[in-house]
Structure formats: C-alpha cells, structure tokens
Amino acid sequence: MTDYEIHELMTCRVAAEVDERGVTVMGSFTPLAYASYMLAKLTHARDAYLVGFDAVGMAPIQLSFTGAEASAYKGAACRWGMLTEINSIHLAGHGGVEAVSSAQFDGNGAINLSAIGPFETPKVRLPGGAGAAEVIKMYRKMIAYFGNHNPRTLVEKVGFVTGTRWKVGDRARQEAGLQPGPIIVVTNLAVLIKDEDDRPFRVESLHPGVDVATVVANTGFELDVPEHLPATAEPTAEQLELLRTKIDPFGTVKFDFVSGKDRLSYLRDVLDAEWNRATAS
C-alpha cells in the first residue's frame, strides 16, 4: 500500500462523487475541491463539464495560488460572467456537485459562514457565504468537507443559518422542483451521508485507523451508526501520482491542513516555488 496523507484521502473521496452529469462550478480558490474535480476529470469522469472563475468548459488545470485563475482560461471553451453562470447553471438545475466548507455545519445540512455570536455585533465576523445560501440546495449533490472533524464545527444547530440544503430526501426535493441527491460529509475521520429529511446523518465509512466512538464523540449532531462500517477507500497509486505530479505539485491542498503557527511559512514556501517556476524559464 502506498503512503498517503489525510488530505489526499479526502480529495480522492470527494472526487469519487464527481460524475459526468451536469456542471460543476468552482468559485473561490478552495484547493481541496479544485483538486477533487481535476482528479475526477482526469480519471473516471472525463466528460465532467467544469466551470471556474468565468471560464466555462475548462480543461483540467494544475493548481497554484497565483496561477489557478490564469490556467482556468487557457483551455476553456467559453467565457461567461457571474450572473450568466447563476442563471444558466445554478438556478437552471444544471448543477452537478457542489463542495463547500464552513465554520459551522449542522445535522440539518445548514452552514454558517456569517457570524459566531450576535449577528449585528458578532464575536467573530465570518466571510459570508457568497452564493452558497442559494446554491447548496440547487445542486444534485452537496458535499461538505472539513479538515478538522470536531464538535465546534459539526454542531447540533448552527448559530446562524447562512444557507441550507432545505429539502434532503429525494421525494421532498423532487416535489420542490429540485434535483434529487444526498448530502455527503467528508472529514479527516469519516464519511457521513444524509438522504432523508427525518433521519440523522449516518456514518457511511470510517477512514482507516479511525474508530466509530471517535467520530461520534467529535460530532455535535446525532448520527446513525450502522452495524457494518466499511473503511473509506484509500487513494490508489495512480491517484496519488496524478495529485502529486500533475494536479497539485506545489501542495496547495495541504495548506488548509497546516496548523496556525506553521501556516504562514508553508504559504511562503509554496509561493516561492510558484515564483521560481515562473522565473526559471
């Protein structure tokens, strides 16, 4: 078995959800989500239709902090702007997979990207949700990913609902005119799934070496725990090769897994490598 890091396993697990139906849109440069989509497009979902920034019908790109945006346009079939993307993908029912992360996430599939504490004078003012408030309900699949599975992030009820899946079960979704599909949570410990409105998330798989008690103890909301719990699939050698040499050679995905005090120097190193590559030739 090949050695891998947890962000690589998570990337591969998110990638497994990406298929060739509908359109997948990247907004902010969120490296794990970007890497997952690229991996899918280079392996099992060659026909996945990708949109990043205003580049529509992207080729797969190499990730970098300073170059991802420029890359997105280099192989793209079309240019749009934010509003056309909204009206032609999100609201038009063409959205395939939407992967988000958030400061808080709860057992109803709600996210909080707005405020910790009172909304008007918060303890922590968070960045805001951009399009997430509307978008996470519109896509066929909602994926939420968290590098640090803990009960402060995965809470019973978010302090403020920036956005939510709204309807969860296939039937409720179809009755509301939405594409049917589940919420999938991928963390550093496990994979959780919710596909019924009136049932809690259930543990779908545990990452190798994680026991279920750790997952339950670190989750603020109720969980269904099936008797039989498979291990999350580990990255294959081909996947790791693609991630490390083609998709993310600078290590942008790992950045979000680096702890507070080391983050700045990690970032500086990545940026130095990007600078050196650009000036080398």
Binding site: M82, E134, E274
Partner: protein, 300 residues
C-alpha cells in the same frame, strides 16, 4: 466621431462624492478596481456605501482607511491570507454598518435594476436566516400561473459603479478577456459608470475584438487608463495576483506599521505606487500567467 470620455485617475475624487453608494467590481483576488480604491483613499472620500459581491483587499483597505460608511456584501475574504481583518474588526466593534446579502440575491438585485424591473423572482435562499433580516430586500412572492412560492429580491441601484476592464475606447466600449465577475451587472444597474482599464485603445481595436466587449459605451460616463489598476489583485491575462504584496498587506494591516503603509499610499500618485510596489515584480506577475498550466490528458 465618438464622444471623448477619457479622464485622468485624479478626476475620481470629483466623480465620486462622500456618501455615494458605490459598487466595486471584481471578485475574490481577481480584478478589483484597486487603482480607483487607492485614489478614493487619496482623495479623502468618506462615508462611501460600498457594495461588493466577493470583496477582498479592496474592501479591507477601504475599511482600514476610514473610507466606508456602510458595506453591502455577500462575502469578504482574504482566502489563504485569512479573514479580512479590517472589515472583520470594524463589524465586530459595531463601527461599520453592513448588509449581508446572499450572493445570488445580490447579483439578481443588480440585474433587476439593470433591466428595468423593481424586483425579480427566483428560487431563493430558502431556509437561510438572511432574508428575514432584510424585509426591504427579500420578500416571498407567488407565481401567478403555478402558485409556486419564490423569493423576490428588490432592484439595487448604486449611485456609481467602478469596474476595471482590459481595455476601452474613448466612447467607453469596454472589453474583458479573463474574469469579469459581477462587473457588467454592476455597471448596468448603476446611475453612473466609471471604467478604469489597463489600456485606452482606438476604436479599431475594439471593433477587431467585438466579442470581448461586455459593456457598450452608452453606459459609461468616464474612462480612466490605469495600468496595473487591479494590483495587487489579478487582471488575467495581463498579470496574476501579487501574493507577495498581499502577504505584506496582511502582515501590516493589523499591526502598528499600518499607518505608514497607508500614509505611503496617500502620499503618492498611482504612477509612484507602481514604481514603488512593482519594482521589477511586474515581469514576474506577467510570467506567472504564462507559467500557469493546464494538464494535457495522457489517457485521451
């Protein structure tokens, strides 16, 4: 034949007045009208009611400089460089009144104004706590044919929109090649439109690239040439974001040296800013664009 709308950057202080609501283009670290932001700070504009879809260093710098009187946004973030510290601090302390929009609601509100309707319906942010906070912006409405419940978002009309284009001619026909984000909708919604651009060109150049014209000249009041006018954010395909300047900003903004950082911007012209901050880095920012790669598919 064409009207000449070309103005110097220094005119911005007159084109925008204290108290104006101003929509600023760009999104994330892409294509914010930063030369205009710096010029508004130099001109000492205050009480600006700023509107951004996904703001970053543009909003944070104005918050830090005391330019803002109100902030409307759906997101403000410095991404890898952290939460926007000045915006965050100003909101947490209660110093900066704000309106948090949902992202689609904000864009569709701008769209409504631009196309001459007082509202537009859409399948809105059902279940979000945001709409209930702003009944003057969000309402529930029913389709007169099907009865389906929809969200209505009210038309948004900024006094001014400032957007940064790749190039424009003297008539105001403006072109983008890479990220235009919310720029066109902001311009169509605003009472007055100011276009800064990397380069002012002859009409011939516009005509030869007519498919890149996203904003026709009849919308535009003033055209301002501002090379590297989005710096330190990107303007694709001309230059990548300047992550090193952004690190410097993030390091300075919360510390005691920030008054020096700000003082320097206030005390120099935009040409002096370029000279000081880019000092040879302009070539690197261009080469970062060239170096960016797509992945050739080995398995095709």
């Amino acid at each position: 034949m064409s009207p000449d709308k070309v103005r110097p950057l220094e005119a911005l202080g007159e084109l925008v007045r204290d108290g104006d609501s101003v929509a600023f283009g760009g999104g994330w670290f892409a294509n914010h009208p930063m030369a205009a932001v710096r010029e508004l700070i130099r001109a000492g504009r205050r009480d600006i009611r700023a509107l951004t879809v996904v703001g970053s260093v543009d909003m944070d710098l104005m918050a830090a400089a005391g330019t803002l009187g109100h902030l409307s946004f759906s997101m403000v973030t410095l991404e890898a460089f952290g939460l926007a510290p000045s915006v965050r601090g100003a909101i947490e302390s209660g110093a900066l009144p704000f309106t948090e929009y949902t992202g689609l609601g904000l864009l569709i509100g701008l769209e409504a104004q631009g196309r001459g309707v007082p509202y537009l319906p859409y399948r809105g942010p059902f279940g979000s706590d945001i709409p209930a906070r702003y009944p003057e912006i969000y309402a529930t409405t029913a389709c007169p044919f099907t009865g389906e419940e929809l969200t209505a978002v009210r038309a948004i009309r900024p006094d001014v929109a400032i957007v940064h284009a790749l190039r424009a001619d003297a008539e105001g026909n403006a072109q983008w090649d890479g990220t235009s984000g919310p720029d066109v909708e902001m311009a169509k919604a605003a009472g007055r439109v100011i276009v800064t651009c990397e380069e002012i060109v002859d009409r011939d150049v516009i005509v030869a690239n007519a498919h890149m014209t996203k904003l026709p000249g009849y919308y535009v009041e003033a055209v301002i040439e501002a090379p590297f006018g989005a710096h330190p954010t990107s303007h694709i395909p001309r230059y990548a974001m300047d992550a090193w300047e952004l690190m410097d900003y993030a390091a300075a903004v919360s510390g005691p040296a920030f008054s020096d950082y700000l003082g320097q911007i206030r005390g120099e012209s935009e040409a002096e800013y370029r000279e000081r901050v880019l000092k040879g880095r302009d070539g690197v920012l261009r080469r970062l664009v060239d170096a960016a790669e797509i992945i050739e598919e080995a398995h095709a």
